[in-house]
Assembly symmetry: C2
Homo-oligomer: 418 residues x 2
Amino acid sequence: MPTLVMKFGGTSVANLDRIARAAKRVALEVGKGYDVIVIVSAMSGKTNELVGWVNETSPLYDAREYDAIVSSGENVTAGLMALRLQEMGIPARSWQGWQVPVKTTSAHGAARIEEIPSDNINQKFGEGMKVAVVAGFQGISPEGRITTLGRGGSDTTAVAFAAAFEAERCDIYTDVDGVYTTDPRITSKARKLDKIAFEEMLELASLGAKVLQTRSVELAMRYNVKLRVLSSFEEPSDDAGTLVCAEEQIMESNVVSGVAYSREEAKMTLVTIDDKPGIAASIFGPLSEAGVNVDMIVQNISETNYQGHAGGVTDMTFSCPIDQKMRAEQALNEAKEKGLINFDRLEADTEVAKVSVVGIGMRSHAGVAAKMFEVLSNEGINIKVIATSEIKISVLIDRKYMELAVQALHDAFDLDKA
Amino acid sequence: MPTLVMKFGGTSVANLDRIARAAKRVALEVGKGYDVIVIVSAMSGKTNELVGWVNETSPLYDAREYDAIVSSGENVTAGLMALRLQEMGIPARSWQGWQVPVKTTSAHGAARIEEIPSDNINQKFGEGMKVAVVAGFQGISPEGRITTLGRGGSDTTAVAFAAAFEAERCDIYTDVDGVYTTDPRITSKARKLDKIAFEEMLELASLGAKVLQTRSVELAMRYNVKLRVLSSFEEPSDDAGTLVCAEEQIMESNVVSGVAYSREEAKMTLVTIDDKPGIAASIFGPLSEAGVNVDMIVQNISETNYQGHAGGVTDMTFSCPIDQKMRAEQALNEAKEKGLINFDRLEADTEVAKVSVVGIGMRSHAGVAAKMFEVLSNEGINIKVIATSEIKISVLIDRKYMELAVQALHDAFDLDKA
């Protein structure tokens, strides 16, 4: 029998009615002849309740106990889903992470899946079981203790099972009906994509389209697992949702597939620093140690014989999440006091936003950057920082122009047309 | 280090404050030099919530899924208790049943503990851990699935751990402060017992003094585990609660230790049945198959050549829980229709109560029964059925006299005096 993995997030199993509705979708796939592995999250709200208790009991908690406590939410859903399916006459049973076992590293709270033996579940499929319901987000460490994969880890569980069981597809049921060309709240012209390449999804996910956890997309890409994102609140249909797949499986790639944005950016500029080998390391080393996630980096052209500096001087600009601005300032000022770096002034701009265009077609189409800059220029929007990758161009602009920029770029790249 | 087992029931760990209070009691014992094994129940209300979900999802549920779901409540408490102890600077960690592992039979929902290997936890004690917090009520079957021991199973878990680890004592923390000579709601003269023998506790427990689960007392008796029942809501003290122990450890046994009662009784009489070998089996076989818990049984003296009966005839009276009366009637009438038994009439009396006096001293003191009957006679209370064991005399009386009977017997046997 072909195998299908179906994952239901917290809102899709929020109560017994929704579990019953999800079970009906599972039954549909069983009816098509699939052996189904269902991955479930905790009923929405349950994980937060457990996390709240942990934090109240022990603010600097032992992560091993945190995992043992928090994983219980998924176990409850798994059992309830198995019972619901049995009620519908479908042979089903639940598995907790340690029962499979989902072998992970010992990094409690953020463990990585190392191996998922398939023999145990496959034996049951051989004996006539039709659905294995597995508690997502959890595993077991080499020491025999319960681990969790971190928030959103159920997506990763689902993809890992799809890889281990060579599933035909991994369907991620969530509360949105797919991946859009941009945020529909910003332009009503936003269009649901039928297909998107792994690489594009990664860029969109890390830019704020929080449909799929980044790690799960990486894993899907590595093992070439076909991922489908779809809503559990829509009527079932064969072309529902968005398929996230390898580039080769998309007949005609879009030059640009989507416009992403992030409001939560801060721009930091170190004014007048010595321009010498190792200077970048001496700046970004302390930032990394302080846990600052630096995103875009721009270094100005060098100026020689600047006042009070022996060699050449330059400016360095970078962006980071806005809530890490204070931490970044502290780390840089401390490094200055210790004599590790030398700058005249540190300027912070917290009124910026990042807008990006993403598309694998960019690789073979020149002129995307030029067009983007022209569109923004026509709207009178000044670009503060530019960063590019193979399939993405990002700019930092004044936050007040963000919506305008997204709308203009969405129009200019014809993203409302299939 | 000597080992102590401490068990906290649902009301003793009902919320984070109570878990913190329980943890303080654990800390006291650690301070005395004990290695402590803490057995915890689910936070009160949690198990009922989970059971409710199971019943709503699948009325005739798969008991294996029931166990997987319902056991999660204890896991949460175990983790929170371990965290709380760590916060107090006490090295502690949690164990779920399968991690110890608590090996049980496969009788899901009512599994029996078969083995508790001590090496895993003892190794940690050797490495400096002071408290092992174990989720009560659960274990793992030979098939690797989660089992539960049935309601109240956490008491049994505690005693089984005390036996496996040769603990000095097993303290059961609950919401009552010990075992009383009778129900204090019936007479204010009821007195807390300092000590009680296992056998007496068993008679009191099965008679309705729901302080300790019967199975846990049986297990304690078999392995000679000293059990102490005490309240988690009282100030700690060395002579708190009631010690349940072997007869030999009680210096001077009371002739009578307590007066127990049960309101929930029904008296059933089969009038005019054939008195021949095997007749008792033919009556109580169908009752047992129908799940009726028959308690007291009395057979009248035989009468020969009674109208319409070839051989001798007799009457048979028995008592059972009042909510099983209909089931008993149905089973007996069906057996009559099938020709398995022959009786003229089935009479049911649901206005009865059972009152018992219990005491190991009875074995060596004659006259307890005579005194009991005299006391009841003096109060004008008619006795309907009498049943005796080595350490207990029970009578069935009209329910309206129950309180009076308990009070009169409590006075007559001087139970208010130490």
